[in-house]
Structures are given as structure tokens and as C-alpha cells.
């Protein structure tokens, strides 16, 4: 079991009506490895992540976490998977009705049944881990800047010391400097936890910094997969066009809908 991948996707398909979004995604992520799935808008990155998290049910294919099949799994299996994973959402997805510390401690209080006082202390430590002071703990998430919200979201994702971390477009919507801060924090937290990380992004700078390996998703399938160092030297024309940002090339860009 120990040498089996932490996350394993096999021939994953998902469609909405007549639109086929995922058309046979295959990907393995090893324990302690950080993989970034890159690709343009509408290629199925978010759908892949939502299928892994159990927020969407795939039409066919297999998703294994620690060798356990998650497609069609019962509630307890799903809860066990969620208990060992943490997720940073694109817009942070902080709960408006709770304070900053209650957001960070949510998984500890509601998921693990930890007393509020103990959870509060851990939340303050996690906020400190992402460079935020205790003075913001009682504030409402709405009173924070976008970058601070992302950091609180990261603190919430790591609060339960998960084995698997998911990041959905971690640098979208924030300035490049704050984006770099977030990238550094993601690398630091992932290493400290020894967690395996799966990031979806279209920000190449972020992917290069966060990931050990990059998978390029195009039209619902992964058409290139390799170490970060090989991205620049790859002879895959689709990947080269994507990282160079050219509108001319083999990628079928429907610019009217972008």
C-alpha cells in the first residue's frame, strides 16, 4: 500500500448534458509530491478537482485515495477522505457568518469535535503560520483584503494537519507580489506537513513555484505530464503555445468565448 499513489485518477469521464468536460483523465500523485494541473479556461481543471473532492460524481472512471475507491463510496469513506484533506478555494470561500478564527478552527470544532478554547489557540497558531497576527482573529472575513482572505483560507486548509492539500487557482484575483507570498506559503506549509498537494492553476509562475510535476489538461484529457524542469524543453506544441501565451498555434482557442 505504501508505494501506491496517494491520489490515482483512472479514465475519468464527466459531462454536463451533451457537453463532455472530462474525457478520460489519468493522473497519479505520490505521497509527498506536489502536482499542478494547468490548462486554459473550460478545459476541465475545476471539474477534475470537484470530482476528487466528492462535490461532483464522475460519469465513469476511478478515483482512488490511498488505494480506496472514492467513486460511489459511502458517507463514512467520504468523510474519512475529507478528514485527511484540506482545500484552498479560488475565492477563499470563508464563511461570512463566522469570525476569522472560527473559520480557521471550523474543521477542528465541527469535524473533530475539539473544544472551542483549544481550537481557538490552534487557529491563532495557524494564522501565525501564514503570517497573520492574532489581532485579525475576531474580525469578520469581509473586512479583510483579498490576499488576507487567501491566507486565512490557507490557514483553514492546514488547520487539521491534512495529508493531502488541494489548491484551486491560489493566486487568482490578487496582485503578483501577494501571489508570490501565497505561493511561498503553500510551499512552506506543504513541506512542513509532508503533505501531497494537487493544485489547479493557469498561472505558470505559480505552477513552477509550487509544483514538482505539471500535468497539462486540454479538452478533458491530460496531454502532457512531466517534471517542472522539463516544461520549457518539452516539444509538445500545445504546451509550448500555452506557456508562451501565443494565440497562434495548435490549441483550439474559441476566443469568442474566452
Amino acid at each position: 500500500m505504501s508505494d501506491s499513489p496517494k491520489i490515482s485518477l483512472t479514465d475519468l469521464h464527466k459531462g454536463f448534458g451533451t457537453k463532455k468536460v472530462l474525457q478520460g483523465v489519468n493522473l497519479d500523485v505520490a505521497a509527498g509530491e506536489s502536482v499542478a494541473i494547468i490548462g486554459g479556461s473550460g478545459t476541465g481543471k475545476s471539474v477534475t478537482l470537484k470530482c476528487i473532492l466528492g462535490l461532483l460524481t464522475p460519469d465513469s472512471g476511478s478515483i482512488k485515495i490511498d488505494g480506496v475507491e472514492m467513486v460511489g463510496a459511502d458517507r463514512k469513506t467520504n468523510e474519512a477522505m475529507q478528514a485527511k484533506s484540506g482545500m484552498l478555494f479560488q475565492g477563499a470561500a470563508l464563511f461570512d457568518s463566522l469570525s476569522v478564527w472560527e473559520n480557521v478552527a471550523f474543521g477542528l470544532i465541527e469535524g473533530q469535535g475539539m473544544p472551542r478554547k483549544e481550537a481557538h489557540d490552534i487557529a491563532i497558531k495557524r494564522l501565525s503560520d501564514v503570517g497573520l497576527g492574532p489581532e485579525i482573529a475576531p474580525l469578520s472575513p469581509a473586512s479583510l483584503s483579498g490576499g488576507m482572505q487567501k491566507r486565512v483560507g490557507l490557514a483553514r486548509a492546514i488547520a487539521t494537519r491534512p495529508e493531502i492539500l488541494f489548491f484551486d487557482e491560489p493566486t487568482t484575483g490578487i496582485d503578483p507580489i501577494m501571489g508570490d507570498v501565497i505561493n511561498d506559503l503553500i510551499v512552506k506549509c506543504t513541506r512542513e506537513l509532508g503533505a501531497c498537494a494537487l493544485t489547479i492553476t493557469h498561472d505558470m509562475a505559480s505552477a513552477r513555484k509550487i509544483a514538482d510535476r505539471i500535468a497539462f489538461l486540454y479538452k478533458g484529457t491530460i496531454i502532457w505530464d512531466g517534471p517542472v524542469a522539463d516544461v520549457e524543453t518539452s516539444d509538445n506544441p500545445y504546451l509550448q503555445q500555452f506557456i508562451s501565451g501565443n494565440t497562434e498555434g495548435p490549441l483550439d482557442l474559441d476566443l469568442k468565448h474566452l
Binding site: L53, A83, Q90, A93, D96, S97, F106, E110
Partner: protein, 257 residues
């Protein structure tokens, strides 16, 4: 027949919505009776739905009782039945006006707020975040609101009934020159327990409808701010219509033999 096709499509779409709402309601009821229970959230929602709706319900029922006293006096004086005013006010308030007016006011205030809050949570991925944090959104968001609606609406309506009857008394004694003692005596002389109980049962049904439709519309909202706005409108309109339908059904169950 080209005209039949769109009618059929509308009817099928209507049936699909009825099916989805029914499944949502059954799922809610199952979660209402199975652990885990978030008592802190239930109490919080009871304050939101009950306590903060009290001024609106009090104002509505007060003036409804006052108008009812005036109107019934004006009508009954045509055949010298003015003495029935107090009885008409109390029976109308407890059986019909109290629950229906409170239900419609709470539908506008609370149903819209629930749909907007849960709808915003849906479009900003907060509901997805709940799932990833090992929390069942149904138990955390829907059940506390529905239970709070079920519990607080009867309390609100009971208070509204008293205020409405007081409104009738104020007008009856101060404006229509009824004797205070005889007005109070007439109020209770023909009032039966069933009148009050039927109103409170209606209130519980309306509380369920309002919170369920608010949660359903919010939970299934899509498409950003516009979707949330649409969910809010749908919650108020659908719960208001369902309140009026349920009012007839409950009335028939209680009083038609």
C-alpha cells in the same frame, strides 16, 4: 399540434420542480430526526426568525385586528349584530388572520433572507467548503432553519393573535364605545381551543414552508448575483403561494366534517 408541445414542456418542467422540492423536503425531514444536531445554530435561527420578526408581525396583526373591528361593526350594524364584533375579531384572528398575515410577513422577511444567505454561500463556494470540512450542509444550513421555523412561527402567531385581539379591543372600546368588560367577555365566550390550536398548526406548517422554500431556492441558486436575486424572488413568491394553498388544506382538515 404545435401549441400542445410548449404546454407539455411547461407541465413537465413544473412536475420536475415539484419532484425536486419533494425530495428536498423528505431529505430535510430525515436529517431533522437523525443526529447530528447543531443546537447553537437552531437557537440562533430561532432568534433570527422569531425574535427579529416580532415587530413586523405585531404591527401587522395589531392593525389587522383594529380594521377587523371597524369593518365588522360597520357590516353587522346593518342587522343589529354589533355585539358579535368581539367574537368575530377573536375567531378571525386565531383561525385565519393571525397565521396567514404572520406567515406572509415572515415569508417576505425571513424566506428572502434565507434564500439570499444560502444562495450567496452556494455561488461563493462556501457550501462546497462545508463539504470539504466534513460538515453536511443539510444538517448545518437547512435543518437549523427549518426546525427554527417550525418552532418559532407558532409562538409568533400566538403573540400576534393576542396583539390582534388587543387591536380589536382598543378600537371597540375607544372608538365604537363598547363596554370594556362586556367586550372581553364576548371575546372569550365563544372562543374554542380548536380555534387557537388550528391557527398554531397552520403556523407550524407555514414555518416549515417558508424556511424550506428559502433553503431550497438558495441551495439551488446558480449564476452569481443575478441567480441569488432570482432565488430570493422565487423563495418569497413560492412560499407565499404555498402558504395560501396550505391554509385552505389545513382549514378543510380541521373544520370540514
Amino acid at each position: 399540434m404545435p401549441i400542445l408541445a410548449p404546454i407539455g414542456r411547461i407541465f413537465l418542467a413544473f412536475l420536475a420542480v415539484v419532484g425536486r422540492v419533494t425530495i428536498f423536503a423528505v431529505k430535510t425531514l430525515v436529517h431533522c430526526v437523525t443526529p447530528r444536531f447543531y443546537f447553537r445554530l437552531i437557537f440562533k435561527q430561532m432568534c433570527e426568525i422569531g425574535y427579529y420578526s416580532l415587530p413586523v408581525v405585531a404591527m401587522t396583526t395589531l392593525f389587522a385586528g383594529m380594521v377587523l373591528a371597524l369593518q365588522s361593526y360597520s357590516g353587522f350594524s346593518r342587522f343589529s349584530a354589533e355585539s358579535a364584533v368581539a367574537t368575530v375579531v377573536v375567531i378571525s384572528m386565531t383561525r385565519e388572520l393571525g397565521p396567514v398575515l404572520a406567515g406572509l410577513m415572515v415569508a417576505g422577511r425571513v424566506g428572502a433572507a434565507i434564500a439570499a444567505e444560502i444562495g450567496t454561500m452556494r455561488v461563493t463556494e462556501q457550501i462546497d467548503a462545508l463539504v470539504t470540512l466534513s460538515t453536511n450542509p443539510f444538517k448545518y444550513l437547512v435543518v437549523p432553519r427549518v426546525l427554527a421555523g417550525l418552532i418559532t412561527l407558532p409562538i409568533l402567531v400566538f403573540i400576534g393573535d393576542i396583539i390582534g385581539v388587543m387591536g380589536g379591543y382598543i378600537v371597540g372600546v375607544n372608538k365604537l364605545s363598547f363596554n370594556s368588560g362586556s367586550y372581553i367577555q364576548n371575546t372569550f365566550q365563544y372562543l374554542e381551543t380548536l380555534d387557537v390550536v388550528s391557527g398554531l398548526v397552520k403556523a407550524a406548517v407555514f414555518g416549515f414552508i417558508i424556511t424550506l422554500m428559502g433553503c431550497y431556492q438558495g441551495y439551488h441558486s446558480r449564476g452569481g448575483a443575478q441567480g441569488v436575486g432570482q432565488a430570493t424572488t422565487n423563495a418569497v413568491v413560492s412560499s407565499s403561494i404555498l402558504i395560501l394553498i396550505a391554509n385552505y388544506v389545513v382549514t378543510e382538515l380541521f373544520f370540514v366534517r
